[in-house]
Structure formats: C-alpha cells, structure tokens
C-alpha cells in the first residue's frame, strides 16, 4: 500500500476526490452542493479542500452570482490523473492479493 498517494488515501479526502471525479471533466460544483453530497460539516470540508488545493488537485474559485457570493470547487487535470493512478494502484493491489 506504500505506493498509494497519501493525499487521496484518507477516508474523507477520498470521498471528496471520488465525488469530484464523478463530475464531467470541465464541470465545477458549488461548495454547499458538494457539502450536501458528502454530508460533511462546512469546516470539515474546508479543511480537506485546503489540503487538496495545496497538492494542486482542486481549484477553488470564489465568484458572484448576482449579489450572492458563490464558491466553486473543481478537480484539476493533475487531480484527475492522480485519482486515476490511485484507482489503478488499488486494483493492482487487490489483483495481487487474490
């Protein structure tokens, strides 16, 4: 299991990345919708997103829709590649074990 990306190989962050990776490649999602899909507290999700942003796996964009501020989260190309590599490694680990 040593080859698994430590940024992704953590229960909560894996859920965040897997959810973002399920969206179409150029799609982004608002923070509240993502929070609802993950059923996490805002503080918790922020912490995980910050870590993912530091790794270059997500971009967080703050914008305005009319007068209300909106925060969008998107998986970067790097993040998508890292997630693909992570799932490939998982399958290899499972295949090797059985």
């Amino acid at each position: 299991m040593t080859e698994l990306d430590p940024v992704i190989h953590a229960q909560a962050r894996l859920r965040v990345v897997a959810t973002l990776a399920s969206l179409a490649p150029d799609d982004r999602i608002t923070f509240p919708r993502l929070q609802k899909l993950l059923d996490m507290t805002a503080g918790n999700l922020s912490t995980h997103l910050r870590r993912l942003e530091e790794a270059g796996y997500v971009t967080i964009t703050k914008t305005h829709e009319g007068r209300t501020p909106a925060t969008y989260v998107q998986l970067t190309g790097t993040g998508r590649v890292a997630f693909d590599r992570y799932t490939t490694t998982l399958r290899a680990v499972l295949g090797g074990a059985s």
Binding site: M1, T19, S22, D27, V93
Partner: protein, 207 residues
Amino acid sequence: MDDETDPAPASAAEALSIISAQRRVAWQTVPSSALLFLVWGGAWLVGYGGLWLSADERGRPSVGAAVLAVALAVAAVATTILHSVARTRGIAGDSARQGALYGWAWFVGYLAMGWIISALSAAGASYEVVGLAANSVAALVAGLLYLAGGILWRATAMYVLGAWIALVGAASAFAGLPTSYLWLSLAGGGGMLTAGLVEAVRRRAAP
C-alpha cells in the same frame, strides 16, 4: 497535517467501495434518463392512446382527448425541467451548457413543427394530411433529438430509442388516421417505457 483525523481506508477493497459509493451519490447531479423516459413514455401512451380511442369514423379525436394529450405534454415538459434543474443545481461548466442547449433544441424543433403544420393547413392540406404530418414530424423531432442525446452522452439505449421513434413515427403515416395515433401510443410510448426500464435496470446493476 490533518491525517490523524482522516484515517486511511482499512484496505484496498474498502477504498474501492468508498469510490463506488460516491460515484452513486454523484448520480444525483445528473438527470435520470430512466425517470424521464418513463414520464414521456406514459404521456405518449396515454395521450396518443386517448386520441386513437376517441376518434370518430373520419379519424377525428374528441376535444376531451385532445385536451388530455396537451395537458400530459405540458406536465411532462414541466417534470423534465423541474427534475433537471433540481438535479443539476450547483453544477456549472460544460455539461450545464450542453444540457441547456439540448433543452432549447427541443423547443426549436417543436416550434418549427408548429410552423410546418400551420403552413400545410393554410395551404389547403386535408384534415388527414395535417394530422399525419403532425404525428410523423412530432416523432421525427423527438427521434432525431434522442439520437443526438445518445451521441452526446454516449447513451446507447437513448440512441436506439431515437432511431426507433423516428422510423416508427414516419412509417405510422402509411397507416392513416386514426391508426397513426395507435402507432405513436403503443410503439412510440411503449418504446420510451421500454428504454426507461432498460436504463433503470442497467443503473441498478452498475458497479
């Protein structure tokens, strides 16, 4: 590091099951084609079925059946819009743009159909010619847009359904009125219901 509070999955198998669970959760951000096929299939089955059942010997349906058909179409449009908006709330980007343009394509298609039918009627086409054209063009518009949707979302069932609806609708014109209504009800509506069931089963079986 917050890794103390976010432990690694116990095993590779657990990690994979977390991934597939989240993929299922993310389906909530995409309109359900199964639901929409079932809604539209029901509307066509009952709407066109009513037009066929109520038709007199010259092929003219009753006003009540026509009102029911229009009401079902309006309800199906409303369901489609509300469902799609609710599912895609908070998602922006290419797919949102694609979905909006696809929705408008239906509007354009049926607006164009309205003009064609009005023009045929104004040019003196008989009641039967107008009715047959309305039925087959309605099916052609739906069929071509399902074909396009099948290509856009790589949805095989949708593509097959599009080909089926376009061809069955066109062929139904040979049957004359009121039998054309029966074709659209059973083959058209039935085809959509079948596609809806296929999609629902496929989704349930997905990893």
